[in-house]
Symmetry: C2
Subunit: 212 residues, 2 copies
DNA sequence: CTTAAATTCTGAACAGTGTTAAGATATGCT
DNA sequence: AGCATATCTTAACACTGTTCAGAATTTAAG
């Protein structure tokens, strides 16, 4: 560390240049959001970091590894977003609702990253320990625990919580990908996305309410 | 047509070779299912059709156009699958259930094609007439009409049918993509997929039942 | 049938990609 | 200081999507 008055060493023109790894990740996020996920190019990422095409290979195994890293980061962001949505002041049922809305909102506000998060190509072989899978499970746990709490409070059905979680996850994930990938995506705005999320989440929660 | 005892001219070694267009589409479907969607290569499709890399360009504008064609075909397949699931002998509510299950089943049994069906890159610009969008709407219509019928029969809520349709579509689409793209995909079998679909669809329908 | 036009395919080329290997340059450690 | 290590570049490889000029074949017209 050179002039460290600044916490982040400030990527001034260093020539083993500072922390290229993060610079690459940031450039990758930007590129993905600009140009989309399909013609996302490792060489262009390197270009934006003012670095040769081979440089990224000193920080990532290959292109997929870069994307996988991005996806893992995105999952942890999602987890904190879900945790923020689940605030103590709400009832367990309201928490479920907010978690669902936050999921859709995250997908809409992080479109490129969201698309990277779910790609079969990124999944490790079965049996292999997979940080990406762990990150995904962490995000799911927020929802799962909220369901357990709502069950404890007798606000929702006592059915298998795994099945309930799968149902709610499916509905918010489905809406998210529809908003991102279908022709709807072209005309979706932040407010229309929020409205759709509200309708869909509330309707789904109706289906798991405690019927007594 | 030469020896036409056969309905399909039987792509014997013809040297403007029969109907290359369909041969390419078939090879593309196979390749997509084998190798996945990401490293899907137009040149490999041509290779499998025993044809030069430039040949496909006489039948499709470009690689995307080939994929788009595949996606449109897949949507019409999906539409008939949904229509088959919606048989007259069932009540409107049972029809809804069967349609939902058929959607997930289609996604599981046509994984590569399903992945091609939902890609923002394939969507036409807003305002432009888009056969792919039309094909998608056709599929949705099956669900939408089933909802109208169930409402007419007073079996489900009288809420805005568009919103109900979006909810049900979201849940089956979400489960479908989870089954295809998440680590779950590695351990999913046909029967486990069916079970998940059953739970999820039934739970969702609970949420829209007529409460009176 | 003959000939012209249109269709379908090939071969060669171009720019751009992911990736690797060999070497240059800087960094940190002792 | 010097040495090992980490980091970056240059050059190259095989491969991709795509285009274009021309060969082969089919279709249509006279």
């Amino acid at each position: 560390m050179s002039s460290s008055l600044l916490e982040h060493p400030k990527k001034t023109e260093r020539y083993h240049h500072g922390d290229l790894k993060n610079t690459l990740l940031e450039a990758a996020r930007e590129l993905a959001n600009e140009i989309g996920v399909d013609n996302f190019t490792l060489r262009e990422v390197a270009r934006r970091a003012n670095v040769s095409p081979a440089a990224p290979y000193h920080h990532f195994l290959d292109k997929q590894d870069l994307i996988r890293t991005l996806a893992i980061e995105a999952f942890t962001k999602l987890t904190t977003a879900l945790n923020n949505a689940k605030q103590k002041k709400h009832t367990p049922l309201q928490q479920l609702e907010h978690i669902g809305m936050a999921y859709v909102n995250f997908a809409y506000t992080h479109q490129a990253e969201f698309r990277f998060m779910f790609r079969r190509e990124l999944c490790a072989a079965i049996g292999q320990p997979d940080p990406l899978e762990v990150a995904g499970i962490d995000a799911q746990s927020v929802l799962y625990n909220a369901i357990l709490e709502a069950q404890a409070a007798k606000q929702i059905s006592q059915d298998n919580p795994q099945e309930i979680a799968l149902t709610l996850w499916s509905v918010v994930h489905g809406l998210s990908t529809i908003i991102n990938e279908s022709p709807i995506s072209k005309t979706t705005t932040a407010t229309s996305a929020k409205q759709m999320a509200q309708h869909v989440v509330q309707a789904s929660i109706q289906g798991i309410l405690n019927k007594e």
